[in-house]
Point group: D2
Chain length 146, copies 4
């Protein structure tokens, strides 16, 4: 049973803006990097074609608190923790730590809620129970970590 995953990225030039820092929208791309790495670490892709019917994971809520800026070539750790697990949805929190300073420092804190959906005959998406083969592998992180 897994409840966390850490991804590391180096800030790209194209992720900065004219203020000289990472554009705030990119933190949401960074969250996905960790989320999809978490899925892969469990032997799954977020594109779950192997299930019948195939399921997808649209986002229903996303947020981020920004404390310190990230700059070009900074090394950032994105620490995903499962904060809630329901039959049809998952919530994560994300701790962003800059690693290349005198000591690791938390620069941002985010969260994401995603819903498991499947596509009906009519092409419409509707919420679906998370496939057991995946659900059985994950659990909520210990409270003291959240």
């Amino acid at each position: 049973m897994a409840f966390e995953f850490k991804a590391i990225r180096r800030v790209e030039f194209s992720e900065t803006d004219m203020a000289g820092i990472v554009h705030y929208s990119n933190f949401f791309k960074y969250m996905e990097t960790a989320e999809h790495g978490f899925f892969r670490a469990l032997g799954h892709s977020v594109v779950m074609d192997q299930f019948d019917p195939p399921v997808g994971w649209p986002r229903v809520h996303a947020e981020c608190d920004y404390r310190l800026p990230l700059r070009f070539e900074d090394e950032v750790e994105i620490h995903l923790l499962v904060s809630e697990k329901k039959s049809k949805s998952l919530s994560y929190i994300f701790k962003f730590r800059k690693l290349n300073g005198p000591q690791p420092i938390e620069v941002a804190h985010g969260s994401l809620t995603v819903v498991c959906v499947t596509k009906g005959m009519d092409g419409k998406l509707s919420a679906a129970t998370i496939p057991e083969a995946f659900s059985d592998k994950i659990e909520v992180a210990p409270a003291e970590m959240l």
Copy 2:
């Protein structure tokens, strides 16, 4: 005194992802489109070089709730409303409406808190009082609109 602004965008192909819908991180770019249009409508740029010292507006909090997807070529209205005004920060909410359906429909709801900062001699940013010439032009939207 202004408390709202509406921007309209057409969804670009490059804003979609392999799920066929606008990638969730782009809603945060859309928020900025409305925010910066709001500034321009008041005769200002978000890059406030005309003040001495110059001020900037880093984001400290951003969030979004996603209700319905946006697709390629959809026309989306981003309705900014000032939800809070403090001496050194502003908060906005954003209502995203898809305009090109049978009737306008709200597809997402976001919010943003930005802080007015200025750069010190040492290059460090610190919170600053919003310049009067700008502050005098804005007010919080009526409660029933929020």
Copy 3:
């Protein structure tokens, strides 16, 4: 018969990088804005689901020469001109002009070659003849404009 289209965009904050100018990759997104506007002006979407079989337009070549930088809030005109028309492909050139200076000035010059494709039973894409209903509406721009 159409051979040109002009789109206008205002540079977004999120399109700039830490050098204070539009990131060079964004000029390729700007090209698409003009290309898709060109299609729409002819009553078509680049996503051509109305044909049987549906066709798509992957890019096979793209290039851009950069002369002058674009900055935040600059107004840029993207002038598309059809430079070549074959049975299964189209080429465009793009002239980027900054409009908000003392006089319009060309800041970049790009080109794009796209191929008309259709998806076979096996899911593989193969080059296809451009549907007549679309092809009949476009022609190559006069040589002196290219």
Copy 4:
């Protein structure tokens, strides 16, 4: 003396578009990933603040030929080769290889020309000789590799 560098990236979900493949503009971001990795491998950052005056590297030409699509979670190697070295500019070619198939396969081929510039007293950029401390470390790749 160095003339090449290889960077590896895994395709992110946010880099795909509704056609299910990596958006063509992202190949230009991938090129930068390799270019900046090349600089770092030589002990430099593309943001060369350590020189007096500081130098920057704006792009003057970029192009890409697309042969095969890249998809979500594909592993792509970006192989940079120095193709030209002048006193004030550098040119690179880039070979994009997809690594996660039965065998590595070239999916795209790009090139980039960048100019070394410095900022004058008046804030204007002008072409400058590449600093020796950097120039001495690089050479053009053998012809048979280009």
